[in-house]
């Protein structure tokens, strides 16, 4: 299968103006191609730029140079330097992101936080809610919490709400930043199972998994992310 995500020449540095315009190079000339059903694990030492790469792929960080092409609405779309409305449409339909931290929205119940992406894609309220409850159940969030805003949940519970939210829309491309970091063994296995289901259904996945057992359970190959200073 041809890749649905194709990255080439991706370069990113951070310029910090408060430090007199200090430039911190993080990514240099990164290349990557991911096909449906593949799960690529990013590996490398802390600070090598794994999270930065993932955030560039989502359009959250802006690439300085290079290309990020995604298969979107039966077409190929360039995300590097894309207009906001293009990136938003790609995120709505094609590209899902699971981060370690949930950005809590005040007063919105957990089940609605999870259901929102499905509603945006046109699911009915009943259908979206049913799927949200299913995912929350699979991820071990007790029903008594479903109608509460996640602000008061534990770190692990918030993370699982976030995972449910990212998986409800069946995105063809998934970016996972430490999806099991704050979870106990039982819940970790549930997340691994969901990731593998999405992969089997044809999703292309790129992720950071510190836990080697999780990485072995989900990844089809690894990509070494090397700090720019360490490159030959």
């Amino acid at each position: 299968m041809p890749p649905v995500l194709r990255v080439s020449g991706l370069t990113k540095s951070f310029v910090i103006h408060a430090q007199g315009g200090l430039a911190l190079p993080v990514l240099r000339d990164v290349a990557l191609a991911v096909s449906p059903g593949e799960c690529v694990a990013l590996v490398g030492p802390s600070g090598a730029g794994k999270s930065t790469l993932l955030r560039c792929l989502y359009g959250n960080y802006r690439a300085d140079a290079g290309s990020i092409r995604v298969r979107h609405r039966n077409d190929h779309v360039e995300l590097a330097g894309a207009e906001p409305r293009v990136t938003l449409d790609v995120r709505r339909r094609t590209l899902g992101f699971v981060s370690q931290f949930l950005r809590v929205i005040p007063r919105v119940p957990a089940v609605d936080v999870v259901a929102e992406p499905a509603l945006r894609l046109g699911a009915t309220e009943t259908e979206a809610r049913r799927r949200a409850e299913f995912l929350l159940g699979v991820l071990g969030i007790p029903p008594r919490l479903w109608l509460l805003p996640p602000a008061t949940f534990s770190g692990g519970e918030q993370q699982r709400v976030n995972i449910a939210r990212s998986l409800i829309a069946d995105y063809p491309i998934l970016l996972l930043d430490e999806p099991t970091a704050a979870l106990d063994a039982g819940n970790r296995d549930g997340v691994v199972e969901l990731i593998n289901q999405r992969r089997a259904a044809g999703a292309a996945i790129v992720g950071i998994f510190h836990d080697a057992a999780v990485r072995d359970a989900v990844a089809s190959r690894v990509l070494d992310v090397v700090p720019p200073g360490a490159q030959p």
Binding site: H17, R55, N60
Partner: protein
């Protein structure tokens, strides 16, 4: 995706005497987008908003609005009467101070009903029914329908102003610090309400705020203004998580973590 922007702004400049309040602003707003304008007090963001909404006349530049009724129109080339019609039918404007956006001497129901009458609704029972429905949507007790906003709290007034603006299903809503000056808990309720309404009604909006948390919650895109110029723009999470300009980096790093 849609072929035509809802609002198209080019080379917009506004001076007050020798002072330039905003300079060379240009952008397109697409249907369904919420654009935030952020910056410190005096950066020109409210002046820009007023020029976009036809409340102030820019010295140079153009604001083209793709009217649902009549196609693209030059907002500042319209007659006063046509512009007023536009602001009452296809647009909304939420002021920071609800007293400026409400008629304080008439009941809550009349405040909401007024815009319905402006778009041609004449049936009293229908107007009252819609007004009651909207009171519920902005979480005001239905038995307050006949009370005047002078008897309302600040948060209730702001929710009433929102209902008054949205009752006629506008295409484009301008908001000037809609949660400014309110208690934090009251703010959260209004933000949640606005977020839900924008999402469900597929509104397009331009929102001025100095609060980056409000911008994060409500907007898709941001323009950062400093000294009357737009110094940076992009997706909201790009601008806040990966700020490029020195001024934006300073703004973002000045937020106190909660």
């Amino acid at each position: 995706m849609t072929a035509r922007p809802l609002l198209s702004v080019r080379d917009l400049t506004k001076r007050f005497g020798n002072r330039v309040a905003c300079r060379d602003v240009a952008f397109d707003l697409w249907p369904g987008e919420v654009l935030g304008i952020v910056g410190e007090s005096g950066s020109g963001k409210t002046t820009l908003l007023n020029c976009l909404a036809g409340r102030m006349t820019p010295d140079t530049g153009s604001v083209i609005y793709d009217s649902n009724a009549s196609g693209p129109v030059d907002v500042h080339g319209l007659s006063e009467a046509r512009r007023r019609l536009l602001t009452r039918t296809e647009w909304g404007f939420v002021n920071q101070d609800a007293r400026e956006g409400l008629r304080m001497g008439v009941s809550a129901g009349a405040n909401i009903g007024e815009r319905l009458m402006a778009i041609g609704e004449r049936h009293y029972g229908e107007i009252r029914r819609t007004a009651t429905d909207w009171l519920g949507r902005v979480e005001i007790d239905l038995d307050r329908l006949d009370d005047r906003p002078t008897d309302f709290s600040g948060g209730m007034r702001q929710r009433l102003q929102i209902a008054r603006n949205l009752v006629s299903n506008p295409w484009l809503v301008f908001m000037d610090e809609p949660t400014g000056g309110l208690d934090v808990s009251v703010q959260a309720r209004i933000l949640d309400l606005l977020r839900g309404l924008v999402e469900n009604l597929h509104l397009s909006a331009v929102l001025v705020t100095h609060d980056l948390g409000v911008a994060r919650l409500l907007t898709h895109r941001l323009m950062v203004m400093q000294g009357g110029r737009v110094v940076e723009d992009g997706l909201t999470d790009q601008v806040l998580d990966d700020p490029q300009h020195a001024y934006t980096q300073m703004l973002v790093s000045s937020i106190l973590p909660a």
